[in-house]
């Protein structure tokens, strides 16, 4: 007897130990992922800049400050060869090959400075411009030896600094890793999610309400139920093919647009919402329906006054899970052309756009060393977005949760 009791306690302890170690293992994996992402990604949010002295008097720009104040300022600026002027200034300042220290887009900074204050054209100026990829990486401690030497020289003349890269948070994709931004993809994701939500949520919830509260149980509703369950398990790339065939080839909607992405992801999210919604509605006790019917509420009143409010927390949780899956989805969007190189953030729902996970995919494919940290930085943005969505879900669930 004693032995059996001891054995039972031992097996209980063993079981608890196994459970605990499983939890610890998954927590360790999660921590490893997050920490490594943070370490690789955080430098992506900063940018090394070089102080470039430029003498506009002796440069090849030949611009008249007065013309830049007139109505033709844009055309005048577009006609000026800032690129060679910048390269010449860099060569002059840092010796032969100095232009290679600067980012390909350094001249944009010079142009912006001239545009802001045309007066600087009359003399000399010192302007901070983004450094080339090699220098940037060297400044973050992982560059090739020749870049380290160049960086040391720049540091000696006190003309290098590393600061927050605002361009990364406000810009869109580019060919040079020092010029890329995440805002284009983030905005694309937001717009796509918006389309997905306003389509999938009402349709999904009303389908769930109809199937649970109105539809009679027969062979047809069984068939529909099985179809919906299967639909939720269909690989996402199939939905991409469907979107390609229906929305692009048949309905001729614009390629790469958030509206098409949203429609495609809505098809994918809807079954998830229907299933979650049905479960939430099913879990509302029948006694509440009886109570409302018993004092003369109609079916619609029962649903909208009692069943839906009680089922809402569950429906919202399911919706957010579906939306989070849609947010992280890449494959179906590749099929409808959202993997294009888009160098400006989308302005409306039919403009070409890309989304965060596709941007991560595109950048991870790039050859240039500078894209490694940008990829990780984009992943951080994606994860923060996901965490924010989950936070909203938890907040809403707690807000609407009824205590019995």
């Amino acid at each position: 007897m004693q032995k059996r009791i001891a054995k039972r306690y031992a097996s209980e302890r063993r079981f608890r130990l196994v459970g605990l170690s499983a939890v610890l293992l998954s927590a360790a994996f999660l921590a490893f992922l997050l920490i490594s992402m943070l370490f690789r990604g955080l430098p992506g949010f900063t940018q090394t800049e070089i102080r470039l002295p430029i003498n506009f008097q002796s440069s090849s720009l030949m611009l008249d400050p007065a013309a830049l104040k007139g109505p033709d300022a844009e055309t005048t600026l577009a006609g000026a060869d800032f690129e060679s002027a910048t390269a010449a200034a860099a060569d002059a300042a840092f010796g032969e090959g100095g232009a290679r220290l600067l980012s390909d887009g350094a001249w944009l900074k010079i142009r912006d400075a001239v545009k802001d204050t045309p007066e600087i054209l009359k003399g000399k100026a010192e302007i901070w411009v983004p450094a080339a990829v090699n220098i940037d990486i060297a400044a973050k401690g992982d560059g090739p030896p020749e870049a380290e030497q160049a960086l040391a020289k720049l540091k000696a003349s006190n003309s290098v600094k590393t600061g927050l890269n605002l361009g990364f948070l406000t810009g869109a994709d580019a060919t040079d890793p020092t010029l890329v931004g995440i805002w284009g993809a983030l905005k694309g994701s937001l717009m796509t999610m918006f389309v997905t939500l306003i389509l999938a949520f009402p349709v999904g919830v009303f389908s769930a309400v109809y199937l649970e509260e109105y539809a009679s149980k027969n062979r047809w509703t069984d068939l529909i139920e099985v179809s919906i369950n299967n639909l939720a398990a269909v690989p996402s790339i199939i939905f991409g093919l469907l979107g390609l065939a229906v929305f692009l080839n048949f309905m001729h909607l614009p390629r790469s647009a958030p509206i098409v992405g949203g429609l495609t992801l809505a098809l994918m999210t809807m079954p998830v919402i229907v299933i979650a919604g049905r479960n939430a509605i099913k879990s509302v006790p029948p006694s509440i329906r009886d109570a409302a019917l018993g004092i003369g509420a109609s079916r619609v009143q029962v649903v909208f006054h009692h069943v839906l409010p009680l089922a809402l927390p569950g429906i919202l949780t399911g919706t957010i899970i579906g939306m989070a899956r849609a947010l992280g989805e890449t494959a179906p969007l590749l099929m409808i052309g959202m993997r294009a190189f888009i160098s400006s953030s989308p302005t409306d729902f039919t403009a070409p756009a890309t989304v965060l996970p596709v941007q991560v995919f595109l950048w991870s494919d790039e050859v240039s060393r500078g894209f490694v940290e940008k990829t990780s930085a984009a992943i951080i943005v994606l994860l923060v977005f996901l965490l924010a969505m989950n936070g909203v879900a938890i907040y809403l669930r707690n807000k609407f949760e009824t205590r019995w």
Binding site: S287, A292, G294, R403
Partner: protein
């Protein structure tokens, strides 16, 4: 039969004569799919009297009760045959609006089922969906009157905004009765209203039924024979989906005509 039940009948002062007809059922049969749950039951419910349905579990008394306000409509595969009239109107005719019917024939369920809302909202919901209150003060009056009639006002008047589910079981059931009478029904159906309650809460509900008698026609299903003896003037005994005997409560309990009734009330089966 037990001495308790006998005493209850002896102490009862009310007249047991026939009152004015409120509801009547003629040859009512109920089917759940192919299975017949009720077989040709005919019963009259009067305005002045409390009518009790008794019988062993599964005899169909609750099923029959639910046909009286068409709550069986919500059960998939349920079918009702026969004629049920409320004030001479066929309640299963196409011209009868089921929502209006349930406002006229209210129901209290076996398990207290208040809405997970405030006590005030629990009462106000019915009058609101039926448009019975023109203003906020009207509604306040309806809520107060209903709670007073249900004998709950003094216990909850200071906490009307608290959740109805925070009350005790007996209070919840009286809240459900108050909710039912708030829409001013003509008939109240009670489906074993005390089966989930302790004896003190049960006594309060029974007292309440006494007070509500006359104002509303009351039909109560119970598996507690003493309770039927205490609260009702008319008793119907159901067995295996048929109505075995229906008559004045005192007659049924002291001098049953049928052997099955006698066996049941003397505790041979049940």
């Amino acid at each position: 039969m037990s001495t308790q039940a006998l005493e209850a009948i002896a102490n009862k002062q009310e007249a047991t004569s026939d009152g004015t007809l409120k509801m009547s059922a003629h040859d009512v049969s109920v089917f759940y799919g192919p299975k017949q749950a009720i077989n040709k039951v005919s019963i009259d419910v009067t305005q002045e009297n409390v009518t009790a349905f008794i019988g062993p579990s599964g005899c169909g008394k609750s099923t029959f009760l639910r046909t009286l306000n068409r709550m069986n409509d919500t059960v998939a595969g349920a079918r009702v045959e026969g004629l049920i009239k409320l004030d001479g109107e066929d309640i299963y005719s196409p011209s009868m609006d089921v929502v209006q019917l349930r406002a006229r024939v209210g129901m209290v369920f076996q398990k207290p089922n208040p809405f997970p809302k405030s006590i005030y909202e629990n009462i106000a919901y019915g009058p609101r969906i039926h448009g019975l209150a023109a203003s906020r003060t009207d509604m306040d009056q309806i809520v107060e009157k209903s709670l007073k009639r249900a004998g709950l006002w003094d216990e909850v008047k200071d906490r009307l905004t608290e959740s109805g589910t925070a009350l005790s079981g007996g209070q919840q059931q009286r809240l459900c009765i108050a909710r039912a009478i708030a829409v001013d029904p003509e008939v109240i159906l009670m489906d074993e209203p005390c089966s989930a309650l302790d004896p003190i809460a049960t006594a309060k509900i029974e007292e309440l039924i006494h007070e509500l008698r006359g104002r509303f026609a009351i039909v109560i299903v119970t598996h507690n024979m003493q309770q039927a003896a205490r609260v009702s003037q008319r008793t119907a005994f159901f067995h295996l989906g048929t109505l075995v005997e229906y008559g004045d409560t005192s007659e049924i309990f002291t001098n049953p005509r049928e052997v099955r009734t006698k066996d049941y009330i003397t505790g041979r089966y049940g």
